[in-house]
């Protein structure tokens, strides 16, 4: 997917003004937050599990080369193939080769953020294949030709009416002519249409929530069952996964599963947790004849060594965005790329470039709620601040902001000057606002006074008044 992150300001504005989005986000806010809270509170061991989950990820990252090689060896033992891709382009090429070699036409896909990261659908279509997203949310946005707006609920921004319109327009070809708006009817309609696709697909592509080094298994966690039909029915199963997805053992995976489901959807366990290890075995009556895992780096191995390495603990649960006030206000599309919300504000600049995505780390109040809920205790606010530092150091900060900061800092480092300038300014502002107690308009402060009054200062600063009090006391 091509980044539109540079467009954040105008996309954010569009989101703010979209009444459907406002309603959808209001729904998401209460739905996700309350369910997660209840699920977490119901598990007394949650704090310890969270700490252990974090330690498992940290341990794995510190020995990432070892665990990747172990994973690879196990997959080979099962008769599967492991491919390595440094860049999205390499990953695309690998998948295309596998599909061509299989003589594929129709390709079903389970939800995969890495698939989005490497823009797999575009590549498959361009090469003449017919990729079909089968997760209902992904299917909806594929029909709408839109990117996901949430990492676990990709069509969260769509209303039932919009979905009804889409289905009405696109399902006539299957003989479904009635426009239906009830969610049950919509789900049923998608089920009917996709059933046929599942059964006629040549290749199934899924992502992975985990790669288990001990057993050489790729693991998907889903609720719909589409991922399982995708990885079982076609002749070839391809898994696309980031290299950070590996965990040592089944036990380690089990620990992380407990925190993942609760944080993602407020469930104790998702409906389907599926481990795939290699192709079908001799004598099996079903399952794919070929099994491929594409391991994607795309900047991850470099993050491992720098101040952003903790981001690699991310398990893509979505809790950070579910608790982010800015995400709720602007919606996922404002972020302009695959990853959204706080984790997107860190990952997007790192993956597509800070100059392209400089707004994302800036459009954050640093309120810290994301970090508070993140099951992996990723210090998202600190990373966002570090990106601002990088932006400042690389001189990507807009000149006006830079100049303002400089001037302010010049004074703030010189108390006498600071005192002089500020007490003068406050006296003026105090006079201007004396009648109403607040200012409705102020030159150069339109960002504030456009929508808010500015409470007027008292006139005399605290420091001035304090100095007087000290003199009086003596």
């Amino acid at each position: 997917m091509k980044s539109a992150a540079h467009d954040f300001p105008s996309r954010a504005r569009a989101g703010l003004q979209n009444p459907d989005l406002v309603r959808a986000m209001a729904r998401a806010r209460t739905g996700f937050i309350d369910k997660r809270r209840a699920a977490v509170d119901a598990l007394p061991e949650y704090p310890q599990l969270r700490r252990i989950a974090r330690e498992i990820k940290e341990h794995t990252l510190q020995h990432l080369d070892y665990y990747l090689e172990r994973f690879e060896a196990r997959v080979r033992e099962h008769g599967g193939h492991v491919h390595w891709a440094s860049t999205p382009a390499e990953a695309q090429a690998i998948v295309l080769d596998v599909c061509r070699a299989a003589g594929a036409k129709r390709i079903t896909k389970g939800k995969s953020m890495v698939g989005e990261e490497i823009a797999l659908n575009e590549a498959l279509e361009a090469a003449g294949f017919e990729p079909i997203e089968t997760d209902l949310g992904e299917y909806i946005i594929q029909l709408a030709n839109e990117p996901p707006s949430h990492i676990i609920a990709p069509a969260i921004h769509k209303t039932r009416d919009q979905i009804a319109d889409l289905f009405h327009a696109r399902h006539a070809q299957y003989g479904l002519h009635e426009r239906r708006t009830e969610p049950t009817a919509l789900v049923g309609e998608a089920r009917t249409v996709l059933r046929e696709k599942f059964q006629t697909a040549d290749v199934g592509i899924t992502g992975a929530n985990f790669l288990v080094a001990e057993t050489g298994s790729s693991v998907i966690v889903t609720n719909e069952g589409n991922g399982d039909l995708t990885n079982t029915l076609p002749r070839v199963h391809v898994v696309t996964a980031g290299i950070e997805k590996v965990v040592p053992t089944l036990e380690d995976m089990s620990t992380i599963l407990r925190v993942l489901a609760r944080n993602a959807t407020g469930q104790e366990a998702s409906a389907y947790t599926t481990l795939s290890s290699g192709p079908r075995r001799a004598g099996d009556l079903d399952g794919p004849g070929e099994y491929h895992v594409v391991l994607l780096d795309n900047g991850r191995s470099q993050m491992l060594g720098n101040e952003f390495h903790e981001m690699l603990r991310c398990i893509r649960c979505g809790a950070c965005m579910n608790h982010c006030p800015v995400y709720h206000a602007v919606g996922g599309h404002a972020y302009g790329w695959v990853y959204v919300g706080p984790m997107g504000s860190v990952l997007t600049p790192l993956m597509v470039g800070l100059d392209e995505a400089r707004d994302l780390p800036n459009a954050c109040t640093l309120n810290g709620r994301c970090r508070e809920v993140c099951p992996m205790e990723i210090p998202l606010s600190d990373m966002i601040r570090k990106l601002r530092e990088r932006e400042f150091d690389e001189r990507l900060t807009p000149p006006r902001t830079r100049l303002g900061l400089r001037a302010w800092a010049f004074a703030a480092r010189r108390p006498a000057l600071y005192r002089f300038v500020t007490s003068l300014a406050m006296r003026v502002l105090g006079l201007l606002g004396r009648r109403r107690g607040r200012l409705r308009r102020l030159p150069l402060a339109g960002g504030w006074t456009g929508t808010r009054d500015l409470p007027a200062p008292a006139g005399e600063t605290f420091m001035a008044a304090w100095a007087k009090r000290r003199v009086e006391k003596r």
């Binding site: 109040t365 400042f392 808010r452 420091m463």
Partner: protein, 264 residues
């Protein structure tokens, strides 16, 4: 003021010496909060001084990515406050800057890191300092109002301020505090965020205002002037007659003119 809890005997040498970090917003916009803080601290038995070389804790530079200037400002602040037993700020955000972030500005092992760390350990937000360190359980103030309380993000998440202001407010005569929904959700201030992304900031503060109004409270209290000015400014622009005060003013019994109200 009668009945204040005193921790230390009147012997001045045994009383904790507190350096008040006024914070730039209180200094410039609402000195009354600073004086309320002084009063609360003195009533609780502290010797309070306000180092004259303080300007701002450096957050605008730090959060703007300018760590060079943030470091320079931090050094000044550290020097200014080192002589005190405690540093106290009527702001969770500025206290959080000293406690959480100053040490990170300097490489571990460096002399300044140690000094920042030592200061960080003595730095507190005002209300939690009164409650947790000085053991103040009640105040003698009166304030007739139905209020609601906004948890400012840094105070809540960096300084652990949540129950303390509510407990102390419960001792204020005539005051009731009703909880708003999502009192811990950001008000959209975010320092320079509010002027860099005014539309988003406005949406956030609107949501906050709606939750405040839903409680029916006539007064909003909070512990950070930045958030309070933001909320008060929006409430005023939308003509909602909710009065806004810093919690210190109410606890000190000095709440008179609300934030953004005309002089009486």
């Amino acid at each position: 003021m009668p009945n204040r809890v005193r921790q230390s005997p009147d012997d001045a040498t045994a009383r904790p010496r507190v350096g008040l970090l006024v914070t730039c917003l209180v200094d410039l916009f609402r000195p009354a909060v600073g004086f309320a803080a002084v009063r609360l601290l003195e009533d609780a038995g502290c010797v309070v001084d306000v180092p004259a070389v303080q300007t701002c804790c450096g957050q605008p530079a730090y959060n703007g990515g300018d760590s060079g200037n943030a470091r320079a400002i931090a050094k000044r602040t550290i020097e200014a406050f080192e002589p005190f037993d405690y540093v106290v700020a009527p702001s969770g955000s500025c206290a959080g800057m000293l406690r959480e972030h100053y040490p990170r500005l300097f490489p571990t092992g460096a002399g300044w890191h140690g000094r920042a760390q030592a200061l960080a350990e003595r730095t507190h937000e005002l209300v939690s300092f009164l409650a947790d360190v000085l053991g103040v359980r009640e105040v003698a103030a009166r304030f007739e109002a139905d209020a609601t309380y906004h948890d400012s993000c840094s105070g809540l998440r960096e300084m652990g301020v949540r129950g303390q202001p509510r407990r102390l407010l419960a001792s204020v005569g005539g005051l009731t505090v009703a909880e708003m929904r999502d009192s811990d959700a950001c008000c959209g201030f975010g320092g320079t965020f509010c002027v860099k992304y005014p539309e988003i900031s406005t949406r956030l503060v609107d949501e906050k205002c709606a939750k405040i109004l839903a409680t029916g409270a006539g007064v909003l209290l909070g512990g950070d002037l930045g958030c309070l000015m933001n909320i008060a400014g929006r409430l005023a622009r939308e003509s909602h007659p909710v009065r806004v005060f810093h919690v210190a003013e109410v606890l000190a019994g000095t709440a008179g003119r609300g934030i953004g109200e005309r002089g009486r």
